[in-house]
């Protein structure tokens, strides 16, 4: 199999560049949180739906009517939420970021993700195959997907506030990937030589990217929810300062739910595609190999999250914790199973 060494070293350089760009973008997002006082989201975004249902959709009511609602705090955790700009102008806010630091941070994120994609493409050219044949390539791919989700969520849901929180684990993960897990370009063992690698592993990469975004949002949700309850009880809450720059727990909860709504079917598809491939390669579609077992466990825990989210008494905090547990199962599957347990997927190893 031809190995293109020039493309291989280009890819390495590009991935290193990606980490550096992400790190700078992360700092810019942090600067935005620190210096940009113009967007204090959390206080105004928790109209208590139960208390003042007339507000709902009653555009004529206007900002005056919303004042007391915001002041009333949160009677429910799943209220409707509008950024304050909406209330003031009655118009949807711009899709694009505002403020110097945020514009810079978002532009850098976009440049970073473009370089990231280029790094993956050149790696694929170097190896003349789909570049997800080992742990190093796999992590590079799903971190790229997570940043793509961040960009999409920023544009689609104006979730610019997520930037720093998503980029911290991404920079860390890519750093570990480049240093500890680096694998030189190479060919695939016969068991991996199948077009199913493009289908199965791609589905897994897409869903893991969505799950990463989801779990970061959920972690923030759990912190925001706790902070809100402590403040309501008159107790101090140290994250409250940062949380003022974020929307309230309800918005975070919905944002995370959305990413799981996208991620879960893709994960399901990935598991099915994996089963078909397993049938082609090993003669059975399901054999409780450790990797299969843990993808099943992950699936079940995320299914629990979706059910909990639709069940009274479980939605909110409990569902959030279940999603966290699901993500831990996922990470154990991605990393732990390869490290600690030998199975048929061991070749995917380190």
């Amino acid at each position: 199999m031809p190995i293109n060494t020039a493309a291989a070293s280009t890819s390495n350089g590009l991935l290193l560049g990606t980490v550096i760009i992400y790190a700078i973008a992360m700092l810019c997002y942090a600067c935005d949180l620190a210096f940009a006082k113009h967007r204090v989201l959390a206080g105004a975004t928790e109209p208590a739906e139960v208390a003042v249902p007339e507000l709902v959709g009653a555009g004529g009511g206007g900002p005056a009517a919303r004042g007391p609602a915001a002041a009333a705090g949160s009677a429910t955790t799943t209220g409707r939420n509008r950024p304050p700009v909406d209330v003031v102008t009655s118009k949807p806010a711009s899709r694009w970021p505002s403020g110097f630091w945020l514009r810079l941070a978002f532009s850098l994120t976009c440049v970073g993700v473009a370089v990231h994609v280029a790094a993956i493409l050149t790696r694929g050219i170097a190896e003349d195959r789909v570049p997800w044949g080992n742990m190093y390539e796999f992590i590079a791919a799903f971190t790229c997907m997570a940043v793509l989700v961040l960009v999409a969520a920023s544009l689609w849901y104006r979730a610019y506030y997520m930037g720093v929180f998503v980029l911290v684990p991404i920079v860390f993960g890519l750093g570990v990937d480049l240093t500890v897990l680096y694998t030189p370009v190479g060919s695939l063992v016969p068991a991996l030589q199948s077009y199913w690698i493009a289908i199965h592993v791609t589905a897994m990469i897409v869903s893991i990217g969505l799950f990463i975004f989801g779990v970061v949002v959920t972690t923030l949700y759990l912190i925001a929810d706790r902070s809100q309850r402590r403040l309501a009880a008159g107790k101090p809450s140290w994250p409250a300062g940062i949380l003022r720059h974020l929307p309230g727990p309800a918005v975070l909860d919905r944002l995370s739910y959305r990413s799981i709504l996208f991620g879960f079917p893709v994960w399901t598809f990935g598991v099915i595609a994996g089963a078909i491939w397993a049938d082609h390669a090993w003669g059975r579609y399901w054999g409780w190999d450790p990797k299969e077992t843990w993808s099943f466990i992950t699936w079940v825990v995320y299914a629990m999250f979706l059910h909990a989210r639709a069940t009274a008494g479980w939605r909110g905090r409990r569902a959030g914790w279940i999603q966290l547990a699901g993500f831990l199962c996922l990470m154990f599957n991605v990393i732990g199973v390869n490290l600690f347990i030998t199975g048929l997927h061991s070749y995917a190893g380190m």
Binding site: V56, D86, S90, P92, Y157, S187, P190, T268, H280
Partner: protein, 557 residues
């Protein structure tokens, strides 16, 4: 539902044990089919799977279980008693998923009935105050209230809403596909489980080791391992036969991936039944041979040194290839034994190591590469009683040295054609060369296609239930001053998981306004702006909706 549940609880409290079996049964059923129980069962299912990935499993790697017994002699029998070496066939594992699926069925069946019911019924009456709904708008029109309602109904009907009209109002509902998708998902899971069971009952799995030049017919006696499903008899096996013509393995010869396999290729000839034309197939990993619905997979390979053993009487007692098991995949260093029970005056046994590419590494020979570039066979001889008549089952890959004593002779690695004379006139052993072998997995699983179809049906149901929202919109028109009508338009999404109802509502409101020409100035500020991008601004009516309680429709939710 809640009311009847309370009834049941009260009556249980009053009559206690006198409630009788039926009451308890109903109570149990209700508990079982509650979402809380389903959540707990899902959790247990996840938890119960964990030991299956941590401990060696009989069904996956029996050798590892044996090894675990040796390294943990005290713990292993206890774990075995708890079925922890066979988790996925354990009774307690089955108990969890059977309960889960019973819970699922108990949840899904009544919902199916209800879906059919609500699809037949009309949407509920429009509530009196539409401004209280999560989304609402109002405007005035030149039309009379009756014709305003008529034109609104026509518009909604064109948009494929189901309608219910009354005096001065119209109710419309859409999105039954959501519940259908949800049901499809859960029913497909039931079918999936059933398909897996089907494969387990009517299918079979087998293994066969095949040396180049050899062949076999698909009969239970010709298979090394044969695991039939419960309802599979010896006569049910598809009567094909397979011969192995050749086998080629290719490895990386340089660079950091030295020794890594590049490709395996087994040239097979096969017949679908005795007397049928002979066909050829290049069997590779990921490219199974499918004969008569049965799949044949290449799952392993190795070397089989060809050995000739002449005993003390000068008679050739063994002449042929002996499959050796690779102990190191990267160098294909392989180990095996040769048993010669017919040798006289004493039975002979040999434990051997086969090195495909022998090199001298500091005085000892090692294999440096998986291909047979410089093959050497090193043998240690034993004589005495092989213990093959004791009635105990013996592995063909291990020598029971209890009744044997090792022959004193220099362990000299043999090149092809070289012989070794055994001491005490016991005979000679000659290494003639090597053959390669492959191991085949043979599976027949009639549940496979149903499982695949139900898997994709579950996925389709999932996507449908996530994408479609069930929503209701209502229009009320009341006479206003100067002969015009004031129209209020309200809506709510009953399940708006993916969001986006608000923009749909706004679009509908725009259309309604445009339809009912003669609109006067009141409209613009009353209408919700299309607000597609602000996810934060969408209705939360999906998940928790205080209004929904007030709007409980005839479908009883």
């Amino acid at each position: 539902m809640t009311a009847s549940q309370e009834d049941a609880t009260t009556s249980t409290a009053i009559r206690g044990a006198a409630l009788g079996a039926l009451g308890w049964l109903r109570w149990t059923w209700r508990q079982l089919t509650s979402m809380r129980t389903a959540l707990i069962l899902l959790f247990l299912l996840a938890l119960a799977s964990v030991p299956g990935s941590m401990l060696p499993q009989e069904g996956i790697d029996p050798a590892a279980v044996t090894q675990y017994y040796q390294s943990h002699p005290a713990l292993a029998p206890i774990l075995n008693r708890l079925s922890l070496f066979n988790v996925f066939a354990a009774p307690w594992f089955a108990a969890i998923y059977i309960l889960l699926f019973a819970s699922l069925a108990g949840c899904v069946l009544p919902r199916t009935v209800r879906l059919v019911g609500s699809a037949r019924q009309r949407p509920p009456r429009a509530p009196s105050n539409l401004a209280r709904l999560p989304s609402s708008a109002s405007y005035t029109t030149e039309l009379t209230p009756a014709s305003a309602i008529e034109s609104a109904a026509a518009l909604l009907r064109r948009r494929r809403f189901r309608l219910h009209t009354g005096d001065g109002w119209v109710s419309a509902e859409k999105g039954y596909l959501r519940e259908l998708g949800n049901l499809l998902f859960h029913i497909a899971l039931l079918v999936l489980l059933f398909s897996v069971g089907l494969g387990g009952v009517f299918g079979y799995k087998a293994n066969r080791l095949l040396i180049v030049g050899q062949g076999f017919a698909n009969t239970p006696t010709a298979l090394d391992v044969f695991r039939p499903g419960r309802l599979v008899g010896p006569g049910n096996l598809q009567p094909f036969s397979i011969n192995l013509q050749n086998f080629h393995a290719q490895y990386v010869t340089s660079g950091p991936e030295l020794d890594q396999p590049l490709s395996y290729n087994a040239g097979l000839s096969y017949q679908t039944q005795p007397g049928a034309p002979v066909r050829h197939y290049a069997l590779r990993v990921n490219h199974p041979l499918v004969v008569d619905g049965v799949s044949v997979y290449l799952i392993g390979h190795g070397y089989a040194p060809v050995v000739r053993v002449t005993d003390g009487t000068g008679t050739v007692r063994w002449d042929g290839p002996v499959p050796f098991i690779p102990v190191d995949q990267s160098t294909m260093t392989s180990e095996g034994v040769v048993k010669v029970p017919d040798a006289r005056p004493a039975q002979l046994g040999f434990a051997g190591v086969f090195l495909p590419s022998a090199v001298d590494a500091a005085g000892t020979l090692e294999s440096a590469f998986p291909s047979a570039l410089n093959p050497r066979l090193s043998l240690i001889g034993f004589s005495g009683n092989l213990g093959m008549n004791s009635g105990e089952a013996q592995s063909v890959y291990q020598l029971d040295t209890k009744g044997l004593h090792q022959l004193r002779m220099a362990a000299r690695p043999l090149a092809a054609g070289q012989s070794m004379t055994l001491p005490n006139g016991l005979g000679t052993v000659t290494y003639l060369g090597y053959q390669q072998w492959i191991s085949l997995a043979i599976t027949y699983d009639p549940g496979q296609m149903p499982a695949l179809i139900s898997g994709f049906a579950a996925l389709a149901g999932l996507i449908l239930s996530f994408l479609v929202r069930r929503r209701r919109v209502f229009v009320r028109a009341v006479p206003a001053a100067d002969g015009r009508a004031t129209v209020t338009f309200g809506g709510l999404a009953r399940s708006d998981a993916a969001g986006g109802f608000e923009s749909e509502f706004a679009e509908l409101a725009q259309l309604l306004r445009a339809e009912q020409a003669g609109t006067s100035g009141a409209a613009p500020e009353a209408l919700a702006e299309p607000d597609r991008d602000s996810g934060e601004a969408e209705t939360a009516g999906a998940d928790v909706d205080p209004h929904e309680v007030a709007l409980t429709g005839p479908d009883g939710e």
